[in-house]
Symmetry: C2
Subunit: 467 residues, 2 copies
């Protein structure tokens, strides 16, 4: 009893210290705010002690310096986006919501760079740079509410990676607040940075387990003259994969993205999409092309022919931005639509050599039959990306089978040189933990993300995530 | 005397241990071999105790494990390329020459990847992948003898960065032997790697101060349909910079590279080049374009017009590979030609925001007048890259002025958000030293490169490098 009271007193002290450091209006400990940020996992609900919404690097620095001294873990969060699988339900923690750090600090159209705060939404960034006829490569796969801080810290995003590379390739410099509150600048606002170890790129994808990103400088590209989108449907997965192969391997067409979705995904989105989808469709491709006017016309016509040669049931081509958005929405809607048909699904993002996609999918569907489980697969297969989902509608027994299925696929993926978020070799984990310890000796930054002190918790949280 | 004898005995023991671990035919301690690998710096000559030429990862692993136990520093070297400024003359060290690790391990044309050993020359790599109509983006700026290990460990190379990004963007996976001899694999042979911290990219550019790269997996691209090169000469630098601006900013032309050279560089190469150069030329641009046939034709014609509008003295256009090589050679010949006109030059590679190149150059030439020093400037100015050279023909006094000039330019560069190899902020150095210590606790890997225990030595070595 006494101990509990002492804890309460400690919490109150911390709260007051935070308020006096950065201002009471940015620090919340009322139950309503805390509930909004609480985490639902198999281990029950976990609620933060305090929620903070800083407006500046200086505030973030003060907050980290205080919580580090108090040994209180901190979970970062951007623009109210759903916490990813890694977020850990732990007993005592603080949520740092970066939604108010949403300024576009500097756009330099001549140097093709922009510096933004982490809470800037991708859509706002695109709208702003479009005024200078520039674009950031991560569109169009990203939902409007996704923040640049989110995609840089996870190195996800970018359905245009086929043509333009991944998020990492476009991060030039970062301002970072380290766990002890010190502020560092990593990287440079230049295309060729030549000094020392590449700290900026090291923080990209580190899921804010090493520090909080407070400013991000990105490389921009000139807006392409023209973009065009095709959605095409097939009566079987093989035909879709053959079409993909023809497009990617034999024709070297200049694609921006090539996304695949299977029957379960098609059914899930069909209620929400404006495109009419034939009932017999078992596979779908969303293909995006950009470049100069003539090239795009030539490539689109060639892709249309290849789709027909491979027995496409239906092909829709969109030339205007408005029509393109309708088609591109199909891709964007897959994940939210799957959430509508089931509140529980086991999800794993896989990355495999492009030529191995077909083999992995074959394996997935065979196991799905063997276990009598429904799977939903989509992804940027042009880049070897597979988003595997196993639907777990009916309680615990199904979940055990689902885990077995996923772990067999993971073995398969690793054996062919692929990778998944949950698959790290022991030496990698050891080395990464050493690096983590160097930057964050007390382990206060987003414990449980990537890997962590509590990997058991994390696994459960991941596998049962409520989406 | 006794101590020296003991040292000799220690050396002999180490030599025998290395011989019995990897085979006598790969380990050399004769004076001829050691002299071939000795280092010439202002502090005099420094000769390695032993030279080793391993053929396999296993051998490298055994070597590192032995020298680590003996606390003997090791200097890595690829294909006999000149040691870069960082190589340190230290009393006792071993040279590890990776020239024999020159196999192309696996080319996967369907996945657009290739795995090579570090000693593979860029030219051999390009010839091999060209058979599958693929290319690695680092051509054409690289001399034939440059190895892939060299450019990955320095993250240099790639004169095509304007279009294709930098070396880092094309490294997918690495096999690395750590200083203790353990072998790790970092990264994956997939386009989207999603697991943990980005160790592979962290080792790119680390100049082998953290471990030895023994296998490198690269991303390849489909060979462009057509490439075309323009060399154009101007009577002043301003006209060349205005042309660059027109090409880069106002026209968004799809360039592969855009290199600049000033009068001193032009004069240095003119004796070696097959192109006739007007005597009044003060600035030169080498412009390379690739893509599909029609686009290249359109872009080349537009660039030609822009050059003329800005008062070009002469413009040569090459459409065939043979003719292109003659023009591209001009860029490749600059650095070796400068070495011919002076045995001593102070060299600094700068990276600045593209829009700031003109301002930096203006500053360089003003200071060159003020100090009565001859400078030679070239570089991929399309990417904000400036290779600054101050000619030091006449002894010590000139060298002091030259250092003053360079340090003033470095201040200027840092103030505008640029970077140079010798300019790291104190917090960056501290953090990088922490990382270095984690990977290489005894500091045996290439001491003096990047930064290190003996930065004073290094500075001298760098500034006085014999080229």
């Amino acid at each position: 009893m006494e101990l509990q009271d002492q804890n309460k007193k400690g919490d109150k002290d911390l709260f007051e210290e935070l308020c006096s450091a950065i201002g009471r209006e940015f620090v919340f400990d009322n139950i309503e705010e805390r509930e909004r940020y609480s985490f639902n996992g198999v281990n029950g609900e976990s609620m933060p002690d305090v929620v903070i919404t800083p407006h500046s690097t200086e505030q973030v620095s003060k907050i980290l310096s205080i919580v580090n001294r108090h040994n209180i873990p901190i979970c970062t969060r951007g623009a109210g986006a759903i916490l990813s699988g890694g977020a850990l339900p732990i007993e005592s923690y603080i949520v740092l919501d970066l939604k108010n750090m949403n300024r576009i600090v500097e756009l330099n159209a001549r140097d093709l760079t922009v510096t933004v705060e982490p809470g800037v939404c991708i859509k706002n960034l695109q709208d702003e740079v479009a005024k200078s006829r520039l674009f950031y490569t991560s569109e169009p796969g990203i939902l409007d509410s996704t923040t640049i801080g989110g995609i840089v810290s996870k190195c996800t995003g970018g359905m245009t990676g086929l043509k333009y590379g991944v998020t990492r390739d476009y991060v030039l410099a970062l301002e970072i607040v380290l766990p002890d509150g010190s502020v560092i600048n990593a990287g440079r606002k230049t295309l060729k940075s030549v000094a020392g170890y590449d700290l900026a790129r090291f923080f990209v994808g580190s899921e804010e387990t090493l520090g909080v990103l407070t400013k991000i400088t990105l490389k921009l590209l000139p807006m392409p003259e023209k973009a065009c989108t095709i959605v095409t449907l097939f009566k079987d997965i093989d035909s879709a994969l053959k079409t993909t192969d023809s497009i990617l391997v034999h024709n070297h067409l200049s694609l921006r993205s090539l996304e695949f979705a299977d029957k379960t995904c098609i059914d899930a989105v069909s209620d929400f999409s404006e495109m009419e989808i034939p009932a017999e469709a078992e596979a779908l491709l969303v293909i995006d092309v950009d470049g100069n006017e003539k090239n795009v016309a030539k490539d689109i016509s060639r892709i249309d022919t290849l789709c027909k040669e491979n027995g496409a049931l239906k092909t829709s081509i969109a030339h205007t931005d408005e029509d393109r958005n309708i088609l591109l929405d199909i891709g964007k809607l897959i994940s939210p639509s799957l959430s509508k048909i089931t509140s529980m699904r086991l999800n794993e993002e896989l990355s495999v050599p492009r030529s191995k996609v077909g083999g992995v999918l074959k394996n997935v569907y065979e196991l799905s039959k063997a276990y009598s489980l429904q799977v939903a697969v989509f992804g940027q297969i042009g880049e070897g990306h597979i988003n595997l989902n196993v639907i777990c509608k009916n309680g615990e027994t199904v979940e055990v089978s689902a885990r077995n299925l996923v772990s067999q696929i993971l073995k398969d993926v690793v054996s062919i040189g692929g990778t998944a978020k949950t698959v790290l070799q022991p030496h990698e984990v050891e080395m990464m933990k050493g690096l983590k310890k160097m930057f964050d000796p007390k382990g206060i930054m987003n414990p449980g993300r990537l890997f962590g002190n509590s990997s058991a918790h994390r696994k459960d949280a991941k596998y049962a995530k409520e989406i």
